[in-house]
């Protein structure tokens, strides 16, 4: 019990004192996972839309692959990305291993199938005749895509939240490709692992609380956007 109390007090202290290092770590977490989610949303929703709205042989297979990807273990992604980004690896020339860029890369790989899988389900759930209806009312294809996206806004926002939640909370890939370098590639989750290893359970606990609070804030924001009254 002491530890929980100490942790809460420590978290409060760190936030109140605006501890520069903790702020930096928090900001980097938000930045890395935010950019990774953004990339995964661009790829996930656009490709998800193509898969959902077109018919092609092997579609079921593609969808199952994407759905499997939704459970992609971060450590596996971390290991693969590390091997690829090694100096002497196939993408070594990029020279981005142990940088925040590499973390964004790995997290985008983790989040994309999540966003894509939910997007496919969301768009397939729309009534099939709706597309014909929209087109028959004289909309261009681009307008149709836009209307469909708006129509599926609720589950699509859920896709964004799931993607963000997946990457902000993962530690396996970030620690492998980022290296948990102080003041450079240390994020909330990797710092929590390190502080636990150091036996600073109160700090680790405080960092966890900050992480939870951050995730809540971001999801609150997303939820507001999601639940907004539709403009008529």
């Amino acid at each position: 019990m002491d530890l929980i109390l100490e942790g809460l007090i420590k978290a409060f202290q760190l936030i109140i004192a605006l501890d520069a290092e903790v702020l930096g770590i928090t900001w980097l977490s938000l930045k890395v996972s935010g950019v990774a989610t953004f990339i995964s949303v661009l790829i996930g929703i656009s490709t998800g839309m193509i898969v959902a709205l077109t018919r092609f042989p092997g579609k079921k297979f593609v969808v199952s692959v994407v759905n499997t990807g939704m459970g992609l273990p971060p450590v596996v992604v971390g290991l693969f990305v590390t091997i690829f980004l090694w100096r002497n690896g196939p993408l070594g020339f990029l020279d981005i291993l142990y940088t925040p860029t590499a973390m964004i890369f790995a997290q985008a790989v983790i989040a994309t199938p999540i966003v894509m899988g939910i997007s496919i389900a969301a768009l397939q759930n729309l009534p099939a005749k709706m597309r014909l209806q929209i087109l028959s009312l004289g909309a261009t294809r681009l307008q149709m895509v836009w209307i469909l996206l708006r129509e599926a806004r609720l589950p699509l926002m859920a896709a964004v939240m799931a993607g963000f939640g997946g990457v902000i909370s993962e530690v396996g890939a970030s620690i492998m490709v980022g290296g948990n370098i102080k003041g450079y590639s240390r994020v909330l989750t990797t710092a929590t692992v390190m502080e636990t290893g150091k036996g600073n359970f109160d700090v680790a606990f405080a960092l966890s609380i900050i992480l939870l609070f951050l995730v809540f804030l971001v999801n609150f924001l997303f939820t507001i956007i999601q639940q907004r009254e539709r403009p008529r």
Partner: protein, 288 residues
């Protein structure tokens, strides 16, 4: 196919976002020779020593050190693959092999501290005060008392295996011998939680002491010395290695300035130093 157009539009948007977000980061890391990858053990990082040393080095030389803290075994694997520039490790036998096989050059003595055998206050195997680490392990085995091993090829694990070997026993597979596969701190937490014995470097133990119910039961045996060396990864094997940076770092850690920091580090916080500087000493004085 308007849909394809939409798709290509999205892809273009993605490519733009990709460039916008990635380009600045890539250019930041561009002077590659200014970045050094230091592969080291968890103990140097978890004890906080590197947080003291690195800023001084970085300020003095303008290099940026990326510390990857893993077990000594993994650190040397990174060196073997040319994925690190310089190593700060504590696994002497493996290090000698590493250098002999041509993966590393200029191995230099940096510092030492010692390992201690820890256990619960109740001490079921009655090893408290035992002078010889070897005898202590024998007693633990004879009592079938729980022993937590790192099991991760770290420097600590290597020493522990060496000690077991000296007893002529192989504890692996025994019910009372468990491997965590975790770092030092976490392994100690597990040992404390399960009332088991374990071996740890003194620095990590001191740093964690307040949260553990473990006591030092055996210490001071020469076999428990924990010695750190710095090794530059051989640039002849891996041309991409930042040889100049590695050399600069190696020279720094054995310099008077760094050695002075090592000497006093931890005194304020723990009442005693965590490491003892050894640069330039005859390795034989440490029994090597």
């Amino acid at each position: 196919m308007k849909l394809l157009k939409t798709a290509s539009f999205s892809l273009a948007a993605f490519a733009f976002a990709f460039l916008a977000t990635f380009a600045p980061t890539i250019s930041q890391a561009a002077p590659a020779n200014k970045t050094i990858i230091l592969a080291t053990t968890t103990s140097t990082q978890d004890s906080g020593l590197l947080d003291e040393l690195l800023p001084v080095f970085e300020k003095q030389t303008g290099y940026f050190v990326k510390t990857i803290s893993v077990g000594s075994g993994q650190a040397m694997k990174m060196g073997e693959k040319g994925e690190a520039d310089v190593l700060l490790v504590h696994s002497p036998d493996a290090e000698k092999k590493f250098v002999a096989e041509g993966y590393g050059v200029n191995r230099m003595l940096v510092m030492h501290n010692d390992f201690v055998i820890l256990g619960p206050k109740t001490d079921p195997a009655k090893i408290k005060g035992e002078k010889s680490a070897k005898e202590a392990l024998k007693k633990i085995a004879a009592a079938n008392a729980l022993f937590m091993s790192r099991g991760d090829n770290s420097g600590t694990h290597a020493l522990e295996k060496k000690l077991w070997k000296s007893t002529g026993m192989n504890p692996e597979g025994q019910k009372w011998y468990q491997e965590t596969g975790l770092g030092m701190g976490q392994t100690l937490s597990v040992a404390a939680e399960k009332n088991g014995y374990s071996i740890a470097d003194r620095g990590t133990y001191l740093a964690l002491k307040k949260n553990l119910g473990l006591d030092i039961l055996v210490e001071g045996d020469g076999a428990l010395l924990n010695i750190y060396h710095v090794i530059e990864v051989n640039p002849a094997k891996w041309p991409k290695v930042n040889a100049a940076g590695a050399k600069a770092f190696a020279i720094f850690v054995v310099s008077k300035k760094a050695q002075a920091i090592i000497k006093t580090y931890g005194v304020k916080k723990y009442g005693s130093p965590l490491f003892f500087p050894d640069a330039g000493k005859d390795p034989k004085s440490l029994g090597l």
